[in-house]
């Protein structure tokens, strides 16, 4: 899995490419920890190049969301592919998080 970070105003965007599963989720969680240590509060996960997510990936995303909320921050999502959206729906994540179709929408306050 590849992770590319960029800044859009107050929002830090992490673009995840590839598969987020039990093997790759530690790398994502490590990037998330670095982000929190750097003081980021508003984070967008760009999943437009993410082809697969398992419960291990969801666990890392929820952990990040909880930590951001603890510092009055927020986690948003953009560009979910059909099968990733299905997993979000089955896990009830579609009710927890705002999802957007493009970066401009996700990074508008």
């Amino acid at each position: 899995m590849k992770i590319i970070q960029s800044q859009h105003g107050d929002f830090t965007v992490l673009a995840l490419a590839g598969e987020l599963d039990a093997v790759t989720s530690p790398a994502f969680e490590s990037e998330a920890d670095k982000l929190l240590e750097s003081g980021a509060r508003f984070v967008v996960l760009d999943l437009s190049e993410l082809t697969f997510v398992s419960s291990a990936g969801l666990r890392g995303m929820l952990a990040l969301a909880k930590q951001l909320r603890a510092i009055q921050g927020e986690l948003r999502f953009v560009g979910l592919q059909q099968n990733v959206m299905e997993v979000f729906t089955l896990a009830g994540f579609h009710r927890l998080f705002p999802t957007f179709s493009d970066i401009a929408g996700a990074t508008a306050s």
């Binding site: 039990a22 697969f52 969801l58 089955l90």
Partner: protein, 161 residues
């Protein structure tokens, strides 16, 4: 029936998953079915790697079968109510030789309604498998020593919807 096997190490599991997905695609699995099969394999094989074989990699065997289950069968005549209700399923029998471990036990339906602060982190793997599979069951097969008993998971997933 086809038989696949791997060691419970991440790379070898991934290789076997690809082989099973290719096999399912050859038998008509559409993209949605393939993503369901991938998800079920990922969740269940990761459980085996992390729990059944926590003290070191062991062998995993997956037997697969594909058949057409006739839905709406009349109990009186044994005949299908409608020929249009046929569905094709991939049946997986996943075997490991670790200590007895039933991942379906104590896997209550997670609370999907609560907010971010209230939602526990984790506990979604078996829930996801139950959602994408038509059925999932567990059996422990005990053997007299020196033979090793084994855990068997039986999973059926529709190949198309």
């Amino acid at each position: 029936m086809a038989r696949f096997q791997c060691m419970a190490a991440a790379d070898d599991i991934r290789r076997m998953e690809k082989e099973i997905l290719s096999h399912a695609a050859d038998h008509g699995a559409n993209d949605i079915a393939l993503s369901h099969i991938r998800l079920a394999l990922e969740e269940l094989l990761t459980n085996i790697r992390l729990y059944a074989y926590r003290e070191g990699p062991g062998r995993i065997v997956v037997n697969t079968g594909i058949n057409s289950l006739r839905e709406g069968v009349s109990p009186e005549s044994g005949r299908a109510v409608s020929d249009n209700t046929d569905k094709c399923f991939l049946h997986l029998e996943i075997i490991d030789w670790g200590p007895a471990f039933n991942p379906l036990e104590d896997s209550a339906m997670p609370d999907l309604e609560s907010g971010i602060d209230e939602r526990p982190v984790g506990g979604l793997g078996v829930h996801l498998v139950r959602q994408v599979a038509a059925s999932v069951t567990y059996a422990r097969i005990n053997r007299p020593p020196p033979l090793k008993g084994n855990n068997r998971l039986y999973v059926s997933i529709a190949l198309s919807r």
